[in-house]
């Protein structure tokens, strides 16, 4: 056959394959149908979007930057009103502004942390699960050791130790970067352990044997065959880890404080002695945190059901 005829035939075979394996329209992903099937997940998405958009657009929403001199006013501990939707704190700063700006930090650190923790854990799991032997043994024992250390304590120590040693990145100042790494380190052993089990399961699959038989290298098998097959679990792990990461960030901010406004920091320090007389200081940052975590929990759970229906309903 001529080269030209091959060129004509290849698209035709691909078209046939596509036709054979194409999902029928009713099985393709349809957000509205997904929302009907998973209303709790859809509610989670809506909540996440609302919080995310409001935090992102904070400067446009009648706020004052909490890190500006302008934010300090003489309206100390004024309750919620049309001027101050969420009231003011001890220093006369607008709690509405603090909550929205605080959301930026909490969400940013939460998301970056989970990405770092999950991606790091997954990569290490791929290496350990596929290479096996001493590498697997070593990495698994390191993970076991880290599990043995109280994780919050470890994160606190790392945060304090790292903060003076890290550079300010364009979108991530040293303080936030230290917190990200501290929490990511906290999450990585868990992600590693879950993903390693999945890698081991996939490695014994027939498609891996087939790939090995036709001479595919280990690196290729890892990246082209195993990784795509565990991606669903990575996504599930990411979404269900996010609320925990956000809560951990809030915990660290509560315990260690934070230069930047964050929900956890707003619930600590000077504010606490006024909670009884000025409950809005606790309610609004706490509610923002609770709603965000609730949203991510619902979304993560629905994603898990969608990607792995066998787990549906299990605790």
């Amino acid at each position: 056959m001529s080269d030209a005829s091959e060129a004509v035939q290849r698209p035709a075979s691909e078209t046939l394959l596509e036709q054979e394996y194409a999902l029928p329209p009713e099985q393709r992903f349809n957000p509205l149908r997904w929302a009907r099937r998973e209303p709790a997940g859809a509610l989670g998405v809506v909540l996440i979007l609302i919080i995310g958009i409001m935090s992102g657009a904070a400067p446009l929403l009648n706020t004052t930057d909490p890190k500006s001199l302008e934010s300090f006013t003489s309206d100390n501990l004024v309750g919620p009103s049309s001027d101050y939707y969420f009231g003011t704190d001890r220093q006369g700063r607008d709690v509405w502004s603090s909550v929205l700006y605080g959301g930026r930090i909490s969400l940013k650190i939460g998301v970056v942390t989970v990405l770092v923790g999950t991606v790091g854990g997954t990569l290490l799991a791929l290496i350990a699960g596929f290479v096996g032997g001493p590498v697997d043994f070593g990495l698994s024992r390191v993970a076991d050791m880290l599990f043995a250390v109280p994780s919050l304590l470890l994160a606190m120590i790392l945060d304090v130790v790292l903060v003076d040693k890290l550079p300010d990145l364009p979108a991530l100042p040293a303080e936030e970067l230290a917190r990200v790494l501290a929490i990511a380190f906290f999450f990585m052993p868990g992600a590693f352990r879950i993903m390693r089990g999945s890698v081991l399961e996939q490695r014994s699959g027939q498609y891996v044997e087939a790939a090995t038989l036709i001479g595919a290298g280990q690196f290729r098998i890892m990246l082209r065959h195993i990784l795509p097959n565990i991606t669903g679990l990575v996504i599930v792990l990411t979404t269900i880890s996010l609320p925990a990461a956000i809560l951990t960030e809030a915990t660290l901010s509560f315990l260690l404080g934070s230069d930047a406004p964050s929900w956890g920091a707003e619930l600590s320090g000077d504010s606490r002695q006024f909670f009884k007389n000025a409950p809005w200081l606790a309610i609004f940052p706490g509610a923002a945190l609770a709603i965000t975590v609730f949203g991510f929990n619902m979304f993560g759970d629905s994603i898990r059901d969608t990607l792995d229906p066998r787990l549906r309903g299990r605790i």
Binding site: R36, R37, E38, P39, A40, K67, S68, L69, S71, F72, T73, S74, D75, N76, L77, V78, G79, P80, S81, S82, D83, Y84, G87, R90, Q91, G92, R93, G257, D259, G269, D270, R272, Q273, F274, K276, N277, A278, P279, W280, A282, I283, F284, G286, A287, A290, I291, V293, F294, N297, M298, D301, S302, R312, G313, R314, I315
Partner: protein, 616 residues
């Protein structure tokens, strides 16, 4: 099959799922938050809120003890345990070495020759029954008879003479002590004349000698036991070291416990603060409580007798609690940002900082709109203060443009200096404001960092530490620059004065005291302008302490204050609250609220044997 994919059908057939659990708790949390939010202030009174705050504050000031006084018995009753708190463990027990978090011991376990009532400017006799200023440089004490240390050793004139002459020796043996050298550097000799008289011979006149003698450094100590210690201090505090009204019975990580000294000497014809058969209270229990919020909860629940000073907003929050009495008192204390003289050598930089500070915003935000400007001598020391608020407003004026211009000019000159000067010029790139861990300290530092960063365009950041680490950082003289850029101290609400001008802010500028130790404004500064200025301040400080004529002394002090203000020298004094309050238990009586503000009367443990607890 499609029906089984319906969420609601699945939900029906499901028991408790993880999602259900999460959803339930989430909804419950959000609902609770919404209900609690509804309990907050409504929209209608937002304009009236500051006025309401002020009114409530006034109410707290005027009638704070209404509830407890209804049940108050006719007179003092004996007994009970006074419960107080402190943040951290003490650094040591020797009154001539440490004064951080050990003041219940310093003032209740040790005794002094006399006590100074700052609010009245009078002395109350304690270990002494009198004194005679024989001439300008000779002072003779008459001891109270019958005093004995807690181990039964009699207190002799030898012990008292040893107590007074000991600090210079400690300075030599320990290398450093918090006792300012100016407190004792005028001693020529201290001689026990006979069993009950001690004569102090000075090299020259000293105006505040008596006030100094009431301070913690001169707690009467057992000479025999001190000399038996390896380092010849009372840091370990063996029983018998002191002769005060209480005996230290417990000292551990949870706090200290003091019990009444059964052999304490009587005070016939007692002066203010003492009673003949005092003290009335049986025991002291001082707990270590890490943070204010917990301590405040203890006070509110009736588990603490003294919380300490609070500002107007905190006072309002405590209003109406039957366990708590809030009383207005003269505002005391200080709030400062101390310069590191190693780095802040350029007067333009110091002036830039002073002009960059938005005083009104600070007063509004930190002191709820009610504060006063502070002079280099605290304004609560009224006997020596001649500078008015108008005078001070001429120095403390917010001018961000001028501030930026001065800062840039100083920065430009710094850039032209060689790399060997880099450590002295780091403030133009980054300034660390180092403060003590605690909400009020952090609020002040946070404001300052935000304000100065915004106006000067250089990053100012806050770092904080516990009090002991903070003290170490303040006194760190391993290099000729400090590990911090600005040292924040005080809240402008609590604290106070001991009545002597050189210990009421002025000591902070003194190159023989904090000016050198804490702030690097020293005679041997590597910067000639700092060294020369320090020499001038040192001369004037000495001159005022040696001047016995009050008006002349005040003139020296006023001139010195203007000199300091003209040069933005040493430390930057922040506005302080115009009003302050004491939060104590509703059962505490006659605790001497005005003299609580004596900076050296003890944190939450003032020496007042007339204080009593209403057991009813």
């Amino acid at each position: 099959m499609r029906d089984r994919d319906n969420y609601w059908l699945r939900l029906q057939g499901r028991k408790t799922s993880r999602r259900g659990f999460l959803a339930g708790t989430g909804v419950a949390a959000a609902g609770s938050a919404a209900i609690l939010a509804g309990c907050g202030d409504d929209d209608d009174d937002d304009d009236e809120a500051p006025a309401a705050t002020a009114a409530a504050t006034e109410a707290a000031t005027e009638a704070p003890t209404e509830a407890p006084t209804q049940a108050a018995p006719a007179g003092p009753t004996r007994g009970g345990t006074y419960r107080s708190w402190k943040r951290t463990e003490d650094m040591g027990m020797d009154p001539a070495v440490f004064h951080t978090d050990n003041q219940e011991v310093v003032y209740q376990v040790y005794n002094h020759l006399l006590d100074f009532q700052v609010s009245k400017g009078t002395f109350s006799m304690d270990g002494a029954v009198g004194y005679e200023q024989v001439d300008e440089s000779t002072l003779v004490w008459t001891m109270r008879e019958g005093m004995q240390f807690h181990n039964g050793d009699p207190v002799t004139s030898e012990d008292v003479a040893f107590t007074i002459e000991r600090p210079p020796g400690l300075l030599a043996s320990l290398g450093a002590t918090h006792v300012p050298a100016s407190t004792y550097d005028y001693f020529d000799s201290i001689d026990p004349v006979d069993a009950t008289h001690i004569q102090e011979n000075w090299v020259g006149p000293r105006a505040d000698a008596l006030i100094h003698r009431s301070r913690q450094y001169f707690g009467i100590i057992n000479k025999k036991l001190v000399l038996a210690q390896p380092d010849q201090t009372g840091q370990e505090h063996v029983r018998g070291m002191a002769a005060g009204p209480y005996i230290l019975s417990e000292r551990n990580a949870e706090g200290t416990h003091l019990v009444r000294n059964p052999d304490y000497y009587p005070h016939p014809n007692p002066d203010d603060g003492f009673v003949e058969d005092g003290p009335y209270i049986d025991e002291y229990d001082v707990r270590i409580v890490a943070d204010n919020v917990t301590a405040r909860s203890l006070l509110e629940s009736g588990d603490l007798d003294a919380y300490g000073t609070v500002d107007a907003l905190e006072a309002e929050g405590l209003e109406g609690n039957e366990n708590v009495a809030v009383e207005g008192a003269p505002a005391g204390g200080w709030a400062v940002l101390g310069f590191d003289g190693g780095k802040w050598r350029d007067q333009r930089a110091r002036e830039a900082l002073r002009k960059a500070f938005n005083y009104q915003a600070f007063i509004n935000s930190i002191h709820a709109g009610n504060a006063r400007l502070q002079a280099p001598l605290t304004i609560i020391n009224t006997r020596f203060q001649r500078l008015t608020q108008e005078d001070l407003a001429g120095y403390y004026n917010y001018d961000p443009e001028d501030a930026r211009a001065l800062w840039e000019a100083a920065k430009s000159d710094a850039a032209s200096r060689g790399p060997d000067q880099e450590k002295y010029d780091s403030i133009y790139e980054y300034v660390d404001i180092h403060t003590i861990q605690g909400p009020a300290y952090l609020a002040i530092s946070d404001f300052a960092a935000t304000n100065l960063t915004e106006v000067l365009g250089t990053t100012f950041e806050v770092s904080s530490a516990d009090i002991q680490t903070w003290v170490s950082a303040a006194n760190d003289n391993t290099d000729d620059v400090k590990p911090w850029g600005l040292l924040q101290s005080g809240t402008g609400v609590g604290g106070g004065t001991d009545g002597a001008p050189d210990a009421s802010y002025l000591s902070w500028f003194d190159p023989a005291q904090y000016g050198s130790v804490a702030f690097n404004f020293r005679h041997d500064s590597p910067h000639p302008e700092i060294a020369e200025g320090s020499a001038h301040v040192g001369e004037q400080m000495l001159a005022q302490t040696q001047e016995l004529d009050h008006e002349t002394r005040v003139q020296i002090i006023t001139d010195l204050q203007r000199w300091i203000l003209d040069r933005a020298w040493g430390i930057f004094t922040l506005p302080m609250a115009a009003e302050s309050y004491l939060a104590v238990s509703s059962r505490l009586r006659d605790y001497g609220k005005d003299d609580w503000f004596n900076a050296y009367s003890g944190n939450n443990t003032p020496r007042r044997e007339a204080a009593w607890l209403d057991q009813a």
